[in-house]
Point group: C2
Chain length 205, copies 2
């Protein structure tokens, strides 16, 4: 096989160089102001080649986010078997977020993604695309069939969509705590249930 062929190594290096250049340019000039041509030029490949490595400009911006979902899946599987599912999910997400906070490129990209509506939207697209994968693991851990039981998919939707959205919303509302803490809090609230009572006292008129 060609596991370590020169050709493969070259491709891998090009791919990494493209990501590195893209992240640098995005951080320096912003996502929208960075053109594919600039990224390609920084790595000295043709713009056409860029699109042979990444299907779109969004694609490269979200390659890191993609890795995070994969990492989250791995972490989720690694959780002790007896753990309640939501707890296992929380641990997995927190682990990944902690690791990302310590990594410079991930940290910079997080701000970029939450700063650009287009990227925020694209991140959801990624999440939705991998929702089945997450649901499958959740179902396995619960010992139910994710094809017939709706709960695994619902939990996947919550983990992939509601939690990041809530964290983003909290951040933009001025909460400066580390992401991991906000994630913990989101899961705590979800575990406690959302069935809040209405205000008891009728407002003064």
């Amino acid at each position: 096989m060609d596991t370590v062929g020169l050709r493969q190594r070259k491709k891998q290096r090009t791919r990494e160089a493209l990501i590195e250049a893209a992240v640098a340019l995005f951080c320096a000039n912003g996502y929208d102001a960075t053109t594919v041509d600039q990224i390609a030029e920084a790595v000295e490949v043709s713009p056409r080649t860029f699109f042979r490595y990444f299907t779109s400009k969004q694609d490269i911006a979200l390659s890191l986010a993609d890795e995070q979902i994969t990492a989250m899946l791995t972490a989720f599987e690694a959780q002790p078997a007896g753990l309640p599912v939501l707890t296992a999910m929380r641990q997995a997400v927190v682990e990944v977020v902690r690791a990302a906070a310590a990594s410079a490129p991930h940290g910079r990209m997080r701000d970029l993604v939450s700063g650009s509506p287009a990227l925020t939207a694209a991140r959801f697209e990624r999440g939705s695309a991998r929702l089945d994968e997450v649901a499958r693991l959740v179902g396995a851990r619960m010992g139910v069939d994710q094809a017939t039981d709706p709960r695994p998919r619902l939990m996947a939707a919550v983990a992939l969509c509601a939690v990041p959205t809530a964290v983003d919303a909290w951040r933009s509302a001025g909460r400066d705590e580390p992401d991991a803490d906000l994630v913990e809090q989101a899961f705590d609230l979800l575990a406690a249930g959302l069935d809040y009572p209405a205000a008891e006292i009728s407002e003064p008129r």
Copy 2:
């Protein structure tokens, strides 16, 4: 004032004609295969004018989704004051989804949106954009300050992101029930809490 000026009425008519033409073309040929030029031509305006009414092609596709969020907010406010917040939210969403199911253009657009990843992502963008609005109403109903209490925003994120995502996932997994029923189920599950236990019996090896 110019509340009913000829100019205003004309603009309104153009806007509606554009939406109508866009929906028709999207349904006939699909979202991606429909060009802005085609939409503009169908209404006999210049393509440039299209972008003076809608900021993007996605924008016009989601104008209906936008109306639904607004309708949901109205319905939420109209719920009886004593209702638990999650129940009120569920009623509001169900009402809107029911109404949409009865409306031909909304129904067709729903399939279009869930069929196109780009539109699904864009719908989230819309949702996130209005998350604060929703959170404010939720906070008001709970009698808490949405600036300091994280729960309203979390619930808004769940209602705007997790529920639609779960419903989409269920549909694509083959569940054919009416959307309203799926929404009810999602909220029921959320009200019951997500803290599912792990499977008790270790799998055979």
